[in-house]
């Protein structure tokens, strides 16, 4: 029972990061109908930038802030330069472009920083917390991860709900044509959506990268975040967070009870199981197809 509690809590902690990646993917999907396969690679690059700043200045939090700012800028630049020309084209074009971007960024990081592992600092201590003599299976750093992700998701939800820019973003995602007719600068909203997704991705990168960083270190995390987004249904931010937490817990049971090498297999099984019964994810509305 104690073991079960331990696995559940550490699973939720791992799931927070998948939730953050999933949230970034959903943000982009709702706005531009593009699945950003380079989300993990973008986070990897911003983590490298953060590491450079941390090593130069010695301040972790300055590096943290720079990573978030870099994610914001990178998202906007990517949308303006390579994604804008393929929006509205066949969906495959955007898939290919973002996969191209994934390879490009990983190659770039390899050329600039080398392919070997670099050690990356944690935000807080990674000693296990316990209540009395009962180990909880989570650390102070895990708590920070949870607070950061839930805080970012909450801020985002509040911004979407209560600000004028949030309303315009939602209008663009709901119907770009009508939004444009009502005076919303749709292009700017799409860029803003990508910038916010870049920021959330950079946050996830900072949280999940420690202890080691290399050009491919975000690949596995991205795939699981993607899985979480698909499980949740790509339309729904709530679904993204729920999908991330669900996946984190399920995978943690699998690796805890059955061995860590079966994690990916269980990820695949969970994904296929959900998609067999709900082909567009758990939290999406009933699919409508145009005839």
């Amino acid at each position: 029972m104690v073991e079960f509690l331990e696995f559940t809590l550490s699973g939720l902690a791992a799931g927070m990061v998948y939730a953050a990646i999933a949230l970034a993917l959903v943000l982009i999907w709702r706005g531009t109908r593009v699945l950003n396969y380079s989300q993990g690679a973008m986070a990897m690059l911003t983590s490298y930038i953060a590491l450079t700043v941390i090593n130069e200045t010695g301040s972790y939090w300055l590096g943290f802030a720079v990573a978030l700012a870099a994610g914001l800028i990178l998202g906007a630049v990517v949308e303006r330069t390579v994604i804008r020309p393929v929006t509205g084209k066949p969906p495959l074009n955007a898939v290919i472009v973002s996969i191209g971007l994934l390879i490009l960024l990983e190659g770039l990081a390899g050329v600039l920083y080398g392919s070997n592992n670099r050690s990356f600092p944690f935000a807080y201590s990674v000693n296990g917390l316990s209540i009395g003599s009962v180990a909880l299976g989570i650390t102070r750093n895990d708590l920070f991860t949870a607070v950061a992700v839930l805080g970012a998701a909450g801020l985002l939800a509040a911004a979407f709900r209560y600000t004028s820019a949030g309303l315009r973003l939602r209008a663009t995602a709901f119907n770009a044509g009508v939004a444009r007719l009502l005076g919303v600068r749709v292009g700017r909203m799409l860029t803003l959506g990508w910038a916010l997704a870049g920021l959330i991705g950079a946050l996830a990168g900072m949280l999940v990268t420690p202890p080691l960083l290399n050009p491919n270190s975000m690949d596995a995390i991205f795939v699981l975040g993607f899985t979480a987004a698909v499980i949740g249904g790509l339309e729904s931010p709530v679904g993204a967070v729920a999908g991330g937490l669900l996946l984190g817990v399920v995978l943690n049971y699998a690796s805890g009870y059955l061995g860590s090498e079966s994690v990916n297999l269980f990820g695949l099984a969970a994904l296929l199981l959900v998609l067999m019964f709900r082909p567009t994810g758990l939290f999406s509305a009933a699919p409508a197809r145009r005839v």
């Binding site: 495959l92 971007l101 960024l105 994690v263 990916n264 994904l271």
Partner: protein, 389 residues
Amino acid sequence: MTMARSPDPRPAGRLGGLAAPTLVRHLGAAVLAGVVLLIGSNTIGDYRDYQLANVAVYVVAVAGLTLLIGLSGQISIGNGAFMAVGGYLAALLLADLKWPLIAILLAATAGAAVVGAIFGVAAARLRGPYLAGATLMLAVALPSVATRFQSVLGGDQGLGFFIGVPGFLGPNVSPYRWLAWVTCGAALVTMVLLANLIRSRTGRSWRAVRDDEIAAALAGLNVARLQILAFVVSAACAGLGGTLLAMWNQSVSPGLFSLTLSIQLLTAAVLGGLGSLTGAVLGSAIVVLPYTYLQNQAISLGMTTATGSNVPILAYGAVLIVVMLAFPAGIQGLLAWMVRASRVRQAVRWLTGPLARRASPGPSVHSAASGHPDQRSAPAAEPQEKGTT
């Protein structure tokens, strides 16, 4: 009974009239390519034979993928997983049962096709990003089966896969040349089969499903079955490709069938032009051949080996983005566009123009414009020349 017998002559006549020339044309092209490859593989050195074999391995897998994406309209980011199925199956058959090469190739192809069918049943319900997500996860998860069942599949070390040159060829044929022959032979067989499939009723049905699923279903096509069949064909090609890759690499391991391999297949299919078999050959050559060259260039510029190996990756990413933004139809599309719109056609028109005006202006121009891409200029020009001389 008489009713049933009467339509018989028509399919036979159609076979003689239309299908046979297609088959003959494809076989003829394959035999010609085979002769060129045979002569070529004997004149180039061992290293070039090795590279040729590498390209041929990719051609087999990419041809299946380009058919899946380009014809049936389903995306797969995970075809490397089916290659892993074929490769591992082949390694097990060789190690435990000592089957001959041809039997191993066929069995591994069939095995991957079965896995493709199982996955295809699940995939036929999925669309767009959901299908992409499922195949992506497949590519990441399936190689970890090898670590899970370490005792049978060898874990991270993998399994050996050594097939020597058969005895009757004698000592004159180097292992690399033999490798090139096997891989190129398999690639040619695959190309002929797929080329016929694309031109067949099934190929046309796939295109109908791709362009409009609902219209295709209303026209009586079984959409789900066609989509599963496309997955089966694509997985079979990947399985054969995986077996050949194992033979080329002399071993199978989870690292051989990484996500990078799946992405390289997709890159090759897109670069060549989705749905085009010629494009699959061009795309494979472009993905495989410059790799070592780019790496060596980077190292000669003062980079370390580890850093230099990232330069080709960077280049692939850049090329993928540029191609998709500038020529979404790939190299095949670019070539076709040049033939259609550029000086080639203008020159043909300029040459045949006066003759056409003298003989019969209207229909000849029309037929030159709307004819089949393969026979665009020649048939229009010929009768006119005969007419005027």
